[in-house]
Amino acid sequence: MAAPLVELRQMQKSFGGIHAVDHVSIDLNPGEVVGVLGHNGAGKSVLMKMLSGALPRDGGEIWINGAQATINNPRDARDYQIETIYQYLALADNLDAASNLFLGRELVTPMGFLDDATMEAETRRILARLNPNFRRFHTPVAGLSGGQRQSVAIARAVYFNAKILIMDEPTAALGVQETRMVAELIEQLKSEGIGIFLIDHDIHQVKLLCDRANVMKNGRLVGTVEVDKVTEDDMLGMIIAGKCPPSGIPGPGAIE
């Protein structure tokens, strides 16, 4: 079997005397959605921030496509085609979709002026693929629904050829219908061979979207399970009690 897309080995991070992430090892394959679950403070966001370069790690190794990677800041992560979609939609509300998609990476004409027309054309192209119902290209994104806003954020990651996507509770701010739309997007990205780490609280959601799930508790990995082989109650047991079901692979944080 080929090397996984991403392999995090023995990742560590401490704040003061607290081990926020304590020797955690997980992996991700192309075209796979892997959940990262746990209570608030379980260390799941910290683990993902070390992958996205937003936080420096104390120890551990990141391997991408079978080679060890050097990721010390967000720009390094970007070079490995790792993009992050943040929990609180990181868009400038007063700008339109194209301006947000290209924010910080604008296309310019040879004279150095913004090439808004090309940026809009590219935005229409990518959004037609992700969300064919998206029509409002000239209104500020503040006027869009949560789902449409999230598709702009996702388009940003996809346009710049993300191979590895980190989604930090992408549906936390969305309604039922919009959540379904994001779920469809995730399915679509998955079919295109993009690997996705999905941080989520909602077990139902994880069961629906993910192939595998990692559960963390107090900074340690409780275990890794294939979501089809366990029940929601099994996963709840992992999160609350730290008890790994027989079908899962227990981690260092599992109780005996």
Binding site: D93, N94, L103, R105, L114, D116, R129, P132, R135
Partner: protein
């Protein structure tokens, strides 16, 4: 282009009505409407004196100084800051330029009075002064994270009195002859050059319009119907021609013409009539408006200014250096204060201690009446200029009608608050 994307661009949607087809910003229409209303009311009250070429000419030169600064205040307010120091900064720039013209170049450099190099030296020094002070205030705000309100409130006191110190409180004048060309009535283009300017402006505006349409067609975006483009082009051309015609219609008094000819050593032909044309200060304002609009809409700097105003955290995550951006915004504001200082001091032909007093409030009011939201992220350059024009029209109209001074300020203050209220209601209705 795939099938889905051309479906998304869709065929030209049938416009709901005449104005929708023209795609004119309704807020712009509202402001122009308010301005026309003010003009009509004052014309009726003054038996038409308000709308004479002479008064319109005066309105434009009275508006120039505040309008130039208001374009910079748009950037400041869009990035969620405020600048209370612009009037004082104007005074410092004016003092620096006045001292250079009356002391440094004639005496220290030994160039004498009215040397051709005097005005350029003074202007460059003034702009550097404004730029440096603005950048310094921006650094205090962006890097040391002192609130802009506090930094510029301090600046309000500091720069007003730096100006006083530089001039030892004296009125400095008369200013250099060439420098005074920026003062309005003392420097105009004349009829011929005004018409040439109009021709260039029309060609330029139509080219921009044509180019925008061509780009849209190239990318298969929906475009306006051709008749709508023609209507807009005609309105723009008519506005430019009308504006220049009015300024040209303000005739130079015969006695003054005779003096001009006498100064050149010529004899004035009998029955000669000449109009003032476009004042150089207004030309400067037009230039500033064009440059600032391009910066706002067509450059990364402008995009980042608006993005940061809309969501500072998102902008930082996108890799924008918001601290340095703050320095740039206040530096631009400072440079514009220097330009306004040129216009303001040359208009009164001398530097006085109280120059630019209360301008900070007029400038902020102009930007806000023009639709700039104090919550950040929203504002337009043309709006701020129209805001300045509306305030100046109200003020000078009331003065012509003979409204008592206290009532003038009461009305202007009320208009400011009502204008913002209308804007809030409008935004709530349209949802943008």
């Amino acid at each position: 282009m795939t099938d889905t994307s051309s479906a998304a661009t869709a065929q030209p949607v049938k416009p709901r009505n005449f104005f929708a087809a023209l795609e004119i910003d309704t807020r712009l229409l509202g402001m122009v409407g308010a301005f026309i209303l003010i003009c009509v009311i004052f014309s009726l009250l003054t038996d038409g004196r308000f709308m004479t070429p002479r008064n319109i000419f005066n309105l434009t030169i009275q508006t120039a100084s505040v309008a130039i600064m208001a374009t910079g205040m748009v950037f400041v307010i869009v990035t969620r800051h405020i600048d209370l120091s612009v009037g004082s900064l104007l005074a410092t720039c004016s003092a620096v330029m006045a001292m250079i013209q009356t002391v440094v170049t004639p005496d220290w450099l030994g160039l004498g009075l009215n040397h051709p190099a005097t005005a350029p030296i003074a202007i460059i020094a003034g702009i550097i002064t404004g730029l440096a002070i603005g950048a310094f205030q921006g650094w205090l705000i962006g890097y040391l994270t002192i609130p802009a309100f506090i930094v510029t409130l301090g600046g309000y006191l500091v720069w007003r009195n730096v100006a006083w110190y530089l001039t030892t409180g004296q009125t400095i004048g008369p200013l250099d002859k060439n420098f005074q060309l920026f003062g309005g009535i003392n420097g105009t283009l004349g009829q011929t050059w005004s018409w040439i300017f109009a021709a260039f402006a029309i060609v330029g505006a139509l080219y921009v319009q044509f180019n925008a349409r061509r780009t849209k067609v190239k990318h298969e975006f929906p475009v306006k119907p051709v008749w709508a483009e023609v209507v807009i082009g005609a309105i723009i051309a008519a506005a430019i021609i009308g504006f220049v015609a009015i300024l040209n219609a303000y005739e130079i008094p015969t006695a003054r013409l005779q003096r001009i000819y006498a100064a050149r050593g010529e004899v004035m032909p009998d029955g000669l009539v000449a109009g003032y044309g476009i004042p150089i200060s207004v030309l400067l304002l037009i230039l500033v408006a064009i440059v600032m609009t391009i910066v706002a809409q067509r450059t990364r700097l402008g995009r980042y200014i608006f993005a940061t105003g809309g969501n500072p955290e998102a902008s930082q995550l996108a890799g924008i250096n918001t601290r340095f951006l703050t320095v740039k915004v206040f530096a631009i504001m400072g440079a514009l204060c220097a330009l306004s200082a040129i216009v303001a001091s040359s208009r009164q032909t001398f530097h006085s201690n109280d120059i630019g007093t209360l301008d900070e409030l007029r400038v902020i009011a102009a930007a806000v009446i023009g639709g700039t939201a104090l919550s950040g992220g929203l504002g337009t350059i043309y709006g701020a200029i129209l805001g300045a024009l509306i305030m100046q029209s109200l003020q000078s109209g009331m003065a012509m009608v003979g409204v008592d001074a206290p009532f003038q300020n009461i009305v202007v203050g009320t208009v400011l608050v009502v204008a913002v209220l209308i804007d809030i209601i409008y935004r709530r209705r349209t949802g943008d």
